[in-house]
């Protein structure tokens, strides 16, 4: 499918909330059955906790390989994002939602600066040193790969950094 067509569609359904709700109902569950993850109490209270972000909004460093927009099943790879990366060093590659607003302010889908605000105010313990960018809109083999391989690899990034809580933010 041509990228311009995907972008045109995304501009429409970004503004029509009911289409997304209908889509979720019609699309149903994916090919892989996902067990509900257990609810694990935080090891530390929020004002001592280290918080990380996984954004599925296609965020990556300008210097990193963009996500693959040519595979209609998406791209289940991920990019490690240093917390101290400047907004000017980050970009979005994702044709399946209208990200013109997020292009102006990444905090709309990657709220690392806002987490820094809360850390400075003592409301959270700190911001993880590394975050993760990936893309939503995954189907077929890419969805399977996400569940089989990529999700565990992403979890390892946060485990290594002793992150207490991860926010999974969509595009």
């Amino acid at each position: 499918m041509a990228r311009w067509w995907n972008r045109l569609q995304s501009a429409v359904y970004t503004r029509l909330h009911w289409i997304n709700a209908l889509y979720a109902r019609v699309a149903g569950t994916k090919e892989v059955e996902i067990p509900l993850p257990p609810l694990v109490p935080l090891a530390r209270p929020l004002n001592q906790a280290r918080i990380g972000v996984v954004t599925a909004a296609g965020v990556h460093l300008e210097s990193q390989q963009p996500f693959d927009m040519d595979d209609s099943e998406g791209d289940s790879s991920f990019r490690v994002l240093p917390a101290d990366a400047l907004p000017a060093d980050l970009t979005i590659t994702h044709d399946y939602y209208d990200h013109r607003a997020a292009d102006r302010d990444l905090n709309l889908i990657y709220p690392v600066e806002r987490l820094g605000d809360l850390a400075a105010r003592g409301e959270i313990g700190g911001v993880a040193p590394r975050h993760v960018g990936m893309m939503g809109h995954l189907y077929g083999a890419q969805w399977t790969r996400l569940n089989r391989d990529t999700a565990a690899q992403i979890a390892d990034v946060f485990r290594e950094d002793e992150v207490d809580l991860v926010l999974a933010v969509p595009g």
Binding site: Y13, T14, A21, L36, D98, A102, N107, L108, L167, P170
Partner: protein, 76 residues
């Protein structure tokens, strides 16, 4: 913890804790440059840690697109 702007999508693939705010796709935390709004959504989302008691629970945030005032957040 997942965040979402479409509750039906959250219900299809829930995380252990889930927060829904009825904003536009690609604007989970609100509008560009509105740091107070973004902090408010973020703060309330983090509040789900204490408010959700069962795996898969969903916290619906009450905010309406462009019809809220977020002054208090900046005053903290």
């Amino acid at each position: 913890m997942t965040l979402s702007v479409v509750r039906q999508m959250t219900e299809q693939t829930p995380g252990p804790r889930n927060v829904v705010v009825k904003f536009r796709l690609g604007q989970v935390f609100g509008e560009p440059g509105q740091a107070a709004q973004q902090r408010t959504i973020l703060r309330d989302a983090l509040g789900a840690v204490d408010r959700i008691e069962e795996a898969g629970g969903v916290l619906d945030l009450p905010y309406r697109w462009k019809r809220e005032v977020y002054e208090e957040a900046d005053a903290r």
